[in-house]
Symmetry: C2
Subunit: 105 residues, 2 copies
DNA sequence: ATGATATATCAAATTTTGTTGATGTGTCAA
DNA sequence: TTGACACATCAACAAAATTTGATATATCAT
């Protein structure tokens, strides 16, 4: 439920950290329409190979993407569930009760 | 439109960076039901004052929260629009066309 | 087997973030 | 107008993330 989602701050922080870099967002965006191999991403993002590999690992460790080896190529895809959960976390930040709190009286 | 949202990676990266820390998420969660003054947040989060102030600034610089001074107190509130936009960014990561791309032939 | 290709990993250097304690600023009360 | 309070900012340091270039690993073609 919503409260539980919002309570899991460490997990959410990890998702958002993984999404906090333009290169990684570029990767994620390019995975939107389906699996892509690293070679395609390297071209599209114009990033050095080890650098791209690093960012892919960050995303993978955060559970936002998964990989699949096929021959000598590795294909990455989005983990929709995780993306959705991150979205739900944000959605859980809607006001639930409107408190007019007077503090610091 | 969706593409434009997903295209604005730098802006999105800034939102997600601001959300990438448990203390900051703690702040955001506590602002969910309305404005809070720094004093309340300090208590609730058990954080040193300058530390809290630092994190509030990160959130504010990212446009996720706003502040309002009232006497000697400063009250912070969520910027719903920005939170929503971040959510929309994630929502924009839904598959639009299903391409069965054969690469690396 | 040998070499080439695709990708991962590693170590070192660099950059960015976060923490802490001290000090500054604005506001209020006496 | 002095002192206390709430908060921001700063400087120094610590810790974490990122980049780069080199090397390792797996797979494939010859």
């Amino acid at each position: 439920m919503a409260t539980a989602i919002a309570g899991n701050t460490d997990r959410a922080a990890r998702w958002f950290h993984a999404l906090s870099d333009p290169t990684r967002l570029g990767i994620v965006i390019r995975l939107t329409n389906g699996e892509r191999c690293v070679c395609e991403l390297t071209d599209a993002l114009d990033a050095a190979q080890s650098r791209l590999s690093f960012h892919l690992k960050v995303l993978k460790d955060a559970g936002l993407i998964t990989d699949r080896r096929e021959g000598r190529w590795v294909h990455y895809s989005l983990n929709r569930e995780a993306i959705d959960e991150a979205g739900q976390f944000l959605a859980s930040l809607k006001p639930r009760r409107r408190l007019k709190v007077e503090c610091c009286g």
